[in-house]
Symmetry: C2
Subunit: 231 residues, 2 copies
């Protein structure tokens, strides 16, 4: 195997990489992916405020100009992560719906899946919750990527209608309710207040989510089940 002479290895940014491993060739090979990885790690470590293209390039062990061979600009990188996040989320939601035994359970499971996603991919979720960072006017892909998630919610509500655990007719209010619930929980979690409240209540965000999902299911079942006419 061809080895680059020492001089080549010690010049360039390869030697200044702080965290990740040293590169062994002039070309990176998969810089696009590594920039995304570095950016995600940066958001997880310091929040979105810590993200700059220069910083991401530095973390990836590359010069400030290098990213421009892979992304049109800063917001294009964020958009790419956002789109990736929607794909991951959609997969998780689809799986949750398919594995649920009933429609009502699926609605609860979808909410839980949002929270699982928040735990597994907090940086992606941050970008999903704050689309303005990816400059959606410039990169509309991210917006369209988000429609899949909503479609799965709608299908799950329609399942409930078919099995009689949701009121018939326009499903959009119940869809909106589940959507808002899921987004609300992860918003409260990622941005702080839920975590501290859970600590003082002696519980966890996951447990709270399970409880809320269960409560939703109970309410749906009793609201759609046979009702007495007394009173």
């Amino acid at each position: 195997m061809y080895r680059l002479p020492e001089a080549h290895l010690s010049t360039g940014y390869a030697g200044k990489v702080p965290a990740s491993e040293t590169r062994t060739s002039y070309h990176h090979g998969s810089l696009r992916e590594e920039l995304i990885t570095a950016c995600v790690a940066l958001i997880e470590a310091e929040g979105i405020g810590g993200v700059s293209l220069r910083r991401v390039a530095r973390e990836a062990g590359v010069s400030p100009g290098a990213p421009y061979h892979h992304f049109q600009d800063r917001s294009a990188l964020l958009t790419a992560i956002s789109v990736q996040g929607y794909e991951l989320l959609e997969r998780q939601l689809r799986q949750a719906r398919e594995q649920a035994p009933t429609g009502a359970r699926a609605l609860g499971a979808l909410i839980e899946a949002y929270v699982d996603f928040a735990r597994a991919h907090p940086a992606h979720l941050h970008l999903i919750l704050r689309p303005e960072l990816a400059e959606p006017d410039k990169h509309p892909e991210a917006q369209t990527a988000g429609e899949g998630a909503l479609r799965i919610l709608t299908e799950a509500v329609e399942d409930c209608q078919r099995e009689g655990t949701a009121p018939p007719g326009d499903p959009s209010t119940l869809v909106g309710m589940v959507w808002a619930l899921a987004i609300g929980i992860v918003t409260l979690w990622l941005d702080g207040p839920l975590e501290s409240r859970c600590v003082s209540l002696g519980t966890t965000p996951e447990q709270v989510t399970v409880d809320i999902a269960a409560l939703l299911e109970v309410m749906m079942l009793s609201a759609s089940g046979p009702r007495s006419t007394s009173g």
Copy 2:
């Protein structure tokens, strides 16, 4: 009344104020309030990304150093707005609860009050939803200011328990549900996707909120009302 000579009026920043009115004295008189007003207007116009202390000072018609006589630093200004926002929100929530005829209606009204607040004070809500901007570690006032809102939610759920429209016992799951619903709706609204979904559904965020609040009430009533034992 004493008039400053022309020379004084034309020097200084008074003459460079773009939007607001020209100052008539060297001292501003109520700069603290005006900085808050300018910052709020800036967030509403350009989002939080548009906020810098220099920019706020410029909008208020004042030199870059002036704000430091009123706020320790940038995050102190944001914290002040955040605290103000919580006060406004709390007042609106308290009023909604007091005016509701029943506990169940109060829960719905609280959700609607969150949305009313979002329409009336979007900038304040943005800061409430993104506490990291106010550097809460440095200024814990904002966090404590948020506890009042949650207390009102809890009281409203306890009212429901008393009137029999909420399950007895620990109210925290239902409190969490209503909290998440409210936060979820305003998050989806302020950050875009709800607005565009409403357009394609031919409705408005306000209507969606009313529908969701009504659905919640219906579900609560039927879940807590007399149940048949058939099946």
